[in-house]
């Protein structure tokens, strides 16, 4: 019997430092058949193991159409993620997945898309952005709002402005600019970008991810501007010890965030007895 808890080895193929505490790793399963068969949907995550330290759920941050490898963008904050920081090209990690549901790409057809990301929250949204760039015919217009603490905290900084096309607008902001840093964009929390964005409630789908507190203000700000709870999709973080709806840790009402999420329409969450993002 195949054991769904048992991870398989992957080799790190490339390492790209994003910020002082965040790194993007390109990796592939060492078994070429496994890599060839591996598919994921934007918004899904893997469980990453460093043996002896444990396992961590990490979103896949690469283009879902790239079949030769996949990427994780990892903020080094604890046991597992700090151990990964000490790894380099050629080192072995253990991975199982993909898990979770992913973003509602099919619903983007013929509609406008508003992407709102904060900090590390851009990582699970990058596969959506690749999808929009690969398939301009699959949506109407798109706008990306991204906020980070300081200019040095911006992920994918050499890509951000290149994502702009005729159909895709990118707007950036930082909470603060330390003395001496060059910064040509907005200063303020990500919701300050709502004042200048083109996106209107009509025919728009919102996808957002970031710290819990940020998503709370994003949802509130958008609803004040006339967006409906059913138009807004959020990706939630929860404690996860299995990723496959067994350990119970990620339960939210009757839902398992690892299986029924991590992406939820905000309207779904408002039906739960336990308050989420309010």
């Amino acid at each position: 019997m195949a054991n769904p808890y048992q991870p398989a080895p992957v080799k790190i193929l490339a390492v790209q430092r994003e910020t002082y505490d965040t790194t993007t790793y390109t990796m592939a399963f060492t078994d070429p058949d496994r890599q060839a068969a591996y598919r994921f949907a934007p918004g899904q995550f893997n469980m990453l193991t460093v043996f002896g330290l444990g396992e961590a759920p990490i979103s896949i941050s690469s283009d879902a159409e790239d079949r030769a490898s996949f990427q994780h963008t990892i903020r080094h904050v604890g046991r597992v993620t700090n151990a990964i920081q000490r790894m380099g090209v050629g080192d072995t990690l253990w991975v199982r997945g993909p898990y979770g549901n992913g973003w509602p790409l099919a619903q983007m057809e013929g509609r406008n898309v508003l992407v709102v990301a904060g900090g590390i929250g851009l990582a699970p949204l990058r596969p959506v952005i690749y999808y929009l760039l690969n398939h301009p015919e699959k949506f109407n217009r798109a706008e990306i709002l991204y906020g980070a603490r300081t200019p040095a905290d911006m992920l994918f900084s050499n890509q951000l402005l290149q994502w702009q096309t005729e159909k895709v607008k990118v707007r950036l902001t930082v909470d603060q600019v330390p003395n001496g840093d060059a910064w040509a964009h907005r200063v303020g929390v990500v919701t300050t970008l709502f004042q200048e964005m083109d996106s209107q409630p009509a025919n728009t789908l919102v996808v957002t991810c970031g710290p819990e507190i940020m998503m709370r203000f994003v949802v509130k700000g958008l609803m004040e501007r006339g967006f409906e709870a059913s138009q807004i999709y959020v990706s939630l973080e929860r404690r996860m010890n299995c990723g496959i709806s067994k350990c119970g840790k990620c339960q939210l009402g009757p839902k398992y965030v690892c299986r029924d999420g991590p992406v939820f329409a905000f309207a779904e969450l408002t039906l739960l007895p336990e308050p989420v993002l309010v």
Binding site: N3, G54, C242, K246, K249
Partner: protein
């Protein structure tokens, strides 16, 4: 799975004298590990029976629920060394002897929890080799409310064999092919019709000992509108957040996963342990963020899961009314009394 529907050819029932039921255990122990109720101090535990003489079918409830025979309080999932991973399995044929109806119901709930979408290979391997010899309840414990939850005091399915205490002997009913197999080497006396009638009479008496305080559907309705009820704050003041209630609960399934490394830093194991939503670090994530920092929200998680969410997850309430959480709660928190308080009684 060992469980099957009762069919015509098993309609035959047999009798075993009380003093011989230990021999039944000894007979089974030749082929299976037999886990049943035995006395430990003043309480009863479900543990491996060294012989039929240890069996105590007069027990009311065991301290830990039978799920410990299917997912252990602490167990190794796999071992790793030198870039090799090996799944660790310890499943073997076992008989759970003398389980009460509420506990058998709990197993059928866990069967779903551990197989929906992804099958848990450790649970599944043990469950496939697990046979259930159930025991209808002929006495009612102080904290039992199975009748209200529809899980007792008698059992309709989910067993391989079912015993009913008729005074000086047990009536034995067969519930599956596996159950018939369990009896194959034993020569039991067929039960005359009058003894079967006696069974129904006794069980009716037991049912009449329960007070029907509330309907299950009503509990759901009450909870649906009570998340912000002020009584929760009062309850949270009484609750110690110890997690006893979830440890003893037969339908709780949460676990946490840990790695342990040998001193050579090369060999290690991934282990899992029962966890509890009552504990402070249950919903803790990196950088110290906690999704349920207040005991009040953790207490609500437990009771809403048992009496509300579980039903949405698998179609049956997650409480089987075994009363263990009540018995083991230092603050005396009782699920039914909580609902009654929310209802304003």
């Amino acid at each position: 799975m060992a469980v099957a529907k009762v069919s015509e050819r098993w309609a035959a029932m047999s009798l075993v004298p009380k003093e011989e039921v230990g021999l039944l255990v000894d007979g089974l122990a030749r082929h299976y590990q037999v886990i049943g109720p035995k006395q430990k101090g003043k309480a009863f535990v479900l543990e491996k029976l060294a012989s039929g003489q240890e069996l105590r079918l007069d027990y009311q409830t065991s301290i830990l629920p039978p799920r410990k025979a299917l997912i252990r309080p602490r167990e190794t999932m796999f071992s790793f060394h030198d870039n090799q991973v090996e799944t660790v399995q310890d499943a073997g044929p076992q008989v759970l002897f003398g389980l009460h109806p509420c506990d058998v119901h709990a197993l059928t709930l866990l069967d779903q929890v551990f197989s929906l979408e992804y099958e848990d290979p450790y649970y599944a391997a043990r469950r496939q080799q697990t046979y259930v010899v159930a025991l209808n309840c002929t006495t009612v414990g102080e904290n039992c409310f199975c009748y209200l939850m529809g899980t007792g005091p008698t059992l309709r399915d989910g067993y391989d064999l079912l015993l009913t205490d008729l005074g000086n002997e047990y009536l034995v009913e067969v519930g599956s092919d596996a159950g018939e197999e369990l009896l194959r080497h034993l020569s039991l006396r067929p039960a005359p019709r009058v003894r079967v009638v006696e069974k129904e009479k006794r069980l009716d008496q037991v049912r009449r000992q329960f007070r029907q305080q509330m309907e299950v559907t009503e509990m759901r309705e009450v909870l649906a509108g009570s998340y912000n009820h002020p009584a929760w704050r009062e309850l949270a003041k009484d609750c110690l957040g110890c997690g006893n209630c979830t440890m003893v609960c037969p339908t709780c399934f949460c676990f946490q996963v840990k790695d342990q490394l040998e001193l050579d830093l090369n060999h290690g194991q991934r282990v899992r342990e029962w966890d509890s939503c009552l504990l402070w670090d249950y919903s803790l994530v990196a950088l110290g963020h906690n999704f349920r920092p207040q005991l009040e929200t953790r207490l609500k998680q437990r009771l809403y899961h048992k009496l509300y969410y579980y039903e949405d997850q698998i179609g049956t309430p997650g409480c089987v009314g075994c009363g263990r959480c009540v018995t083991n709660c230092p603050a005396g928190i009782h699920p039914l009394e909580v609902v009654a308080r929310l209802k304003g009684e």
